[in-house]
């Protein structure tokens, strides 16, 4: 492994902390902490959303899944990008106009219900922690691959840096950190792959499959196995619809000045994220040529290992190896920061402040500590799964709980608080249960294993169905303000109604 890799990740961490400390000078009030006072420009904001979104799952996990399982895994990055299209089509502008900056806020704005707010808070924390654990485990894997240190070291280092940074700097600093991280991550994948492809060309373009691996090139669904088809569609539903329900994605929309800006920011994000996803699969494919043994034992390491294996331990291999390691660390730091900010945000306003108008900066710091320590402990305890799989499960829970809440809340007047809660409990609860069974590694065989391992295809329709039916049955609970809220969500910004 590259000798420069360790200095590179130390540098990335230091830069992140420095920008964070610089940001502290601006953070004066709680609103500075949580929403960066809404003075972030759309370009910065879009890069920041991209930087925050591209996690260990995107940077390491996609290449690893492609290496291990082939073309079907490309649905992960396609879905991760398409989630922003669903967000754009159904949620972005009205959500920004609602003035909510967390999902629990949206519950209160739209349905005026305190206890629904509590339920939403619970799901935000669950999804946030579920998403944080693989980030920290990815950090452990990276440091282990680079230095041979035991895997808990990386998890503890990243967990501590991020918790400290969030507790001290809040979101204002994070906006700059995140925007920087997007460009770093893009460079760290795009630049080395050019050299890797040149080396492959120079080697006489060795075949990607040596005859035996032909089925790796073909969609699994090609065999017509209904399980494979179910899993693929489940994954598509989870990723396409889950993005809008991820707590760290949503909170950023409040930093747009108005609904139209939120829409444009989302479009830019879709472009930036799509651009990024052109690269990880190439690592998976080249890994098939140069490091096929990783497919069995350590697929998530392929991005880190490939530059050294293909380009050798000369200066070029060393520098590029250091670059991908730096990019991977940027991925853990940025996504973990975003998740932690959101989890700490809802914990401080909805749990610590006990429903008073808003939390104080001190509450936010305490909440950051709690929000950071729990996933650190979990990351050390829970058995390691492929990072993208766990992240995919977090998407499934979000798609089965917050997606129907947002879509129905924005477009259908008939949604009631009881209906929303019933849908979240039925769909989100079922998805969360399936996820827990999967993460705990219970040996579930056949179709039971398929529907718990990829729950979205049944939990998303369940959530929508229950939400609609129960809302219709509790029509007397329609909030009296629904007309006014709908006007606020949908009237063009230029009217200033």
């Amino acid at each position: 492994m590259s000798n420069l890799a360790l200095p590179a990740i130390v540098l990335v961490t230091l830069v992140t902390v420095t920008i964070g400390v610089y940001g502290v000078r601006f953070a004066r009030t709680t609103s500075d902490f949580l929403v960066a006072s809404r003075v972030v420009s759309p370009t910065w904001n879009a890069a920041a959303i991209g930087g925050e979104y591209l996690s260990a799952a995107s940077f390491l996990g996609v290449a690893g899944l492609v290496l291990a399982n082939g073309v079907d895994m490309l649905w992960y990055p396609v879905g991760f990008a398409a989630g922003y299209l669903a967000l754009l089509l159904f949620v972005a502008a009205p959500l920004r106009r609602s003035g909510a900056f967390t999902l629990p806020d949206f519950c209160e704005v739209r349905l005026g219900s305190r206890w629904l707010r509590r339920l939403a808070t619970g799901f935000v924390v669950f999804i946030g922690w579920l998403y944080l654990v693989p980030q920290l485990q990815g950090a452990g894997l990276t440091l282990e691959t680079i230095t041979g240190a035991p895997s808990w070291v990386g998890a503890v280092v990243v967990g501590t840096v991020v918790t400290g940074n969030v507790a001290l700097g809040g979101m204002r600093s994070i906006t700059f950190v995140q925007a920087f991280q997007y460009w770093l991550k893009l460079t760290a994948l795009a630049f080395p792959v050019v050299f890797l492809l040149m080396a492959w060309q120079g080697d006489g373009r060795p075949a990607i499959t040596d005859g035996v691996g032909e089925e790796w090139l073909l969609p699994h669904t090609g065999g017509g196995a209904p399980e494979a088809l179910f899993e693929t569609y489940s994954l598509i539903l989870a990723t396409f619809l889950g993005t809008m329900g991820l707590p760290h994605v949503l909170v950023r929309f409040y930093t747009n000045p108005d609904g139209a800006a939120a829409r444009r920011t989302t479009l830019v994000v879709l472009g930036l994220v799509g651009l990024f996803y052109l690269f990880p699969p190439l690592y998976g494919v080249l890994g098939r040529v140069y490091t096929p043994e990783l497919a069995e034992n350590d697929p998530d390491a392929v991005v880190l290992v490939l530059p050294g294996v293909v380009l050798g331990m000369g200066v070029l291999g060393q520098v590029l190896g250091a670059l991908v390691a730096a990019g991977a660390f940027a991925a853990f730091l940025s996504t973990s920061s975003g998740l932690l900010t959101s989890v700490a945000g809802v914990l401080s306003t909805d749990v610590l402040a006990r429903g008073s108008s808003s939390g104080t900066a001190r509450d936010f710091r305490i909440a950051s500590l709690i929000a950071g320590v729990v996933p650190m402990v979990l990351a050390l305890q829970v058995a390691e799964l492929e990072v993208s799989r766990v992240v995919g499960l977090a998407f499934a829970v979000a798609a089965s709980s917050f997606c129907p809440l947002l879509v129905l809340g924005i477009w259908w007047r008939g949604l009631t608080d009881v209906g929303a809660a019933a849908g979240i409990i039925a769909g989100g609860g079922a998805a969360a249960l399936a996820v827990l069974l999967t993460v705990l590694g219970l040996p579930l065989e056949g179709w039971v294993g398929v529907i718990t391992g990829h729950p979205a295809a049944w939990t998303v329709p369940l959530a929508f169905g229950v939400m609609v039916v129960v809302s219709l049955a509790t029509r007397h609970r329609l909030p009296p303000t629904v007309g006014k809220t709908m006007l606020r969500l949908h009237a063009p910004d230029s009217l200033h109604l």
């Binding site: 073309v71 490309l74 649905w75 396609v78 990008a81 398409a82 922003y84 299209l85 669903a86 754009l88 089509l89 159904f90 502008a93 090139l217 073909l218 969609p219 669904t221 090609g222 017509g224 088809l229 693929t232 569609y233 598509i236 139209a260 829409r263 444009r264 989302t266 479009l267 879709l270 472009g271 799509g274 651009l275 996803y277 052109l278 699969p281 477009w411 007309g483 006014k484 709908m486 006007l487 949908h490 009237a491 063009p492 230029s494 009217l495 200033h496 109604l497």
Partner: protein
Amino acid sequence: MAEVARRRRATRQELTEQTKVGDALIRGLIRAQLALALRLAIVVLIGLGSLPLLFVLAPGVASARIGGIPLPWLLLGVVAYPFLFGIGWVHTRMSERNEREFANLVGRPDRHE
């Protein structure tokens, strides 16, 4: 002109006071925006969502190659992203147009108010 300005102010009032006319107006906008979003979602559903099924029903498509690259890899690895961005671009343009038409109908806020 004065008549138009007066009618527009009245329309704004219809909206904010939730009269029948105002309610019908905003419902019309919501319906237009939802129809737009759903139409584009269906385009994505057909364009991307049909692919897994297509690969099952037409194995020839799954094993076809363009320029030496298998078609599924090309579609999911490259083509999907500009496709998604294009749909997003169309949505941004058309939803803004819907809003402009609505704003013209209602009128911009009068500075003297």
